[in-house]
């Protein structure tokens, strides 16, 4: 059962790209690492940037046909699932440090 935003995203990525569960999770982890993101502390905005700018290349490298469309389908599904589950972003270090400096 999906409990974190990462779980939701990996599940939807697997569905849209026809990758198995392990491959989808691994691909997502690699893309998040490239983006400098923590899988345990994601926001929708961060995932959108990853799915728009990094994931198509990752899917293409794994032989997924039409990677850009797969990413769009996955991202729409992630947003919808996140709304349904009432998922909320936790406070990330970036947000904390933005606040602490008065920005």
């Amino acid at each position: 059962m999906a409990t974190t935003l990462f779980d939701i995203a990996a599940e939807r990525l697997g569905e849209s790209s026809a990758m198995d569960r392990l491959a989808a999770r691994g691909t997502l982890r690699l893309a998040l690492k490239q983006a400098g993101l923590d899988a345990n502390n994601l926001t929708i905005l961060q995932l959108r940037a990853v799915f728009e700018r990094l994931m198509p290349r990752e899917l293409e490298a794994r032989g997924v046909t039409n990677p850009t469309a797969s990413c769009k389908v996955a991202m729409d599904a992630i947003e919808s699932a996140a709304r349904e589950t009432g998922w909320e972003a936790s406070s990330s270090p970036d947000e904390i440090f933005k606040r602490l400096g008065g920005n």
Binding site: Q34, A35, G36, L37, D38, N40, L45, Q46, A49, V50, R53, L54, S90, S91, P93, D94, I96, F97, K98, R99, L100, G101, G102, N103
Partner: protein, 248 residues
């Protein structure tokens, strides 16, 4: 020069107290734990540095042993919220981080407690309690330096995707430098203990190292928590023109 050795810690204490008030006011607005924890850290640090050096500043007699021990407790009281801050911000789910906080807390409580019971403040490399206490307050500084370094590396990648602001990336760098200066200050404590063990006097190197690291810490914290507009603009401009130099 030696008679002015109290000046850097007094300047640092004034800064810590001002920063503490600013962070507490931020906490009143946001009700978030990190600002409260840092505010309490800086409050204890500010009180400690001021009180410890007040006798030199006002030309009073040296503090009694009882007062010195009270100040030791004030000092270690600043380390607890600092450790909880690091854990809350960087490792909220890490069991090992909780264990590290517990171990350092135990080191600080036991060493300061035993020192209080024995009744002597001995800055000496031969004093086990001094060394245990040193580990207890140095480890969190090393930890903070490590976490800020990792956070900065990640934030630089995020900034290239437009997910982190260059000023926030730079704030991690400043925090990393602050923690590194604090580690140096801790090393200067060892140098001081070495002086006390061998010659019973504090050398210019120990005094200079301690004073220099305090002033450097204040400068980087000022840039982090009170960034002047010219500095913030410079960081933003630099990130826009040299993408590989995001956040300084």
């Amino acid at each position: 020069m030696e008679e002015y050795a109290f000046l850097p810690p007094i300047i640092a204490s004034a800064f810590y107290l001002v920063a503490s008030v600013r962070l507490f006011r931020l906490y009143r607005r946001t009700s978030e734990r990190p600002e409260l924890l840092l505010s309490v850290t800086f409050a204890f640090a500010g009180v400690y540095y001021f009180a410890y050096n007040a006798s030199s500043l006002f030309g009073l007699d040296p503090w009694s042993l009882r007062t010195e021990w009270m100040l030791e407790w004030v000092y270690i009281s600043s380390v607890f919220p600092y450790m909880i801050f690091i854990r809350t911000v960087f490792r909220p789910d890490g069991a090992w981080a909780g264990a590290l906080v517990a171990i350092c807390s135990a080191f600080l409580l036991v060493s300061t407690g035993m020192g209080t019971i024995e009744g002597e403040i001995v800055y000496s490399l031969e004093n086990t309690w001094f060394l245990v206490q040193w580990v207890g307050y140095t480890a969190p500084c090393v930890w903070m330096c490590w976490e800020a370094t990792l956070a900065r590396l990640g934030a630089q990648k995020r900034a290239r995707l437009g997910l982190a602001q260059p000023i926030v990336v730079n704030r991690y760098l400043l925090l990393m430098l602050f923690a590194a200066f604090q580690v140096l200050a801790c090393v200067s404590d060892l140098s001081l203990a070495h002086d006390m063990t061998s010659t019973r006097t504090i050398s210019m190197i120990s005094n200079g190292l301690l004073g220099g690291t305090e002033i450097a810490s204040v400068v980087v914290l000022w840039l982090a928590f009170f960034p002047p507009p010219f500095y913030a603009n410079w960081i933003e401009r630099r990130a826009a023109t040299i993408p590989t130099a995001v956040g300084g």
